[in-house]
């Protein structure tokens, strides 16, 4: 995780376009100023950042499915459940499945596991819009390449 850039996904582990699923890995940093405040003497990964990790994973699935033609933006979070604490240094597996591909929006179901145990899950709504500008499209492709998501030739489908 690059918390200071709000880029929470480290790499795409598995992408199945035909099944409309993605699995990503994200390692919680061992140290961050965030943990100095959340909480003093008892560092925990903030739940909102876990939700954001699920949203970003959902987003990467959507951009892969639409071949980087359009950009998803988080619009709604439903049924988010934060089931157990996540601590610095832990390795997270973040999964998302496209539940519905609507006109200008998408619904996903996402979850995070740590050591095989479910730590949180949520149903998310994302608006799917044209990229606001070419620069953003290019930058997103750069980030995608860094995390192993090939914009031109997704792994499946």
């Amino acid at each position: 995780m690059r918390l200071e850039y709000f880029q929470l996904i480290d790499r795409v582990v598995d992408l199945k376009l035909s099944e409309r699923t993605i699995r990503c890995e994200a390692t919680v940093p061992a140290e961050s100023t965030i943990f100095e405040g959340h909480f003093p003497g008892y560092p925990l990964m903030p739940g909102v950042l876990l939700v954001e990790a699920m949203a970003q994973t959902s987003g990467w699935l959507i951009v892969a499915l639409n071949r980087f033609e359009r950009m998803p933006f988080l619009a709604a979070v439903k049924e988010a459940k934060l089931r157990s604490f996540v601590k610095p240094g832990e390795i997270l597996i973040v999964e998302a499945r496209l539940a519905h591909d609507g006109s200008g929006y998408a619904m996903t179901e996402a979850n995070i596991k740590c050591n095989g145990k479910l730590v949180c899950d949520a149903a998310l709504t994302l608006r799917v819009l044209d990229f606001p500008n070419l620069e953003m499209s290019k930058r997103m492709r750069d980030v995608a390449a860094r995390i192993g998501l090939n914009a031109e030739a997704p792994t499946d489908g």
Binding site: A76, G102, S103, Y105
Partner: protein, 93 residues
């Protein structure tokens, strides 16, 4: 009124917590029922699932923005029901 209207009225009532008896065929989803665009996504999702279609929300929005259509054509519920019936018929054709 058609069963299509009843289905979407029930969806709206449940999704947006609006009393079912206040939802009429002549109701405008936005102007009369106060449904905003984000809430309408939940309604569109439920309609897509219920009828096995994909409401072309982006196309409709574009037509309204371009002045080629009015919101009444798509968001007055009896008109929305008619559009849904057309989409269902086109799917089966």
């Amino acid at each position: 009124m058609s069963s299509t209207f009843d289905t979407i009225a029930n969806i709206i009532a449940e999704t947006c917590d609006i009393p079912r008896d206040t939802i009429k065929p002549e109701s405008h989803a936005i102007n009369d029922l106060g449904i905003d665009s984000l809430d309408f996504l939940d309604i569109a999702f439920a309609i897509d699932k219920a009828f096995g279609i994909k409401l072309p929300l982006e196309q409709w929005t574009q037509e309204v923005n371009d002045g080629k259509a009015t919101t009444e054509q798509y968001f007055v519920l009896k008109n929305l029901a008619a559009r849904i019936d057309e989409l269902v018929a086109a799917k089966g054709a």
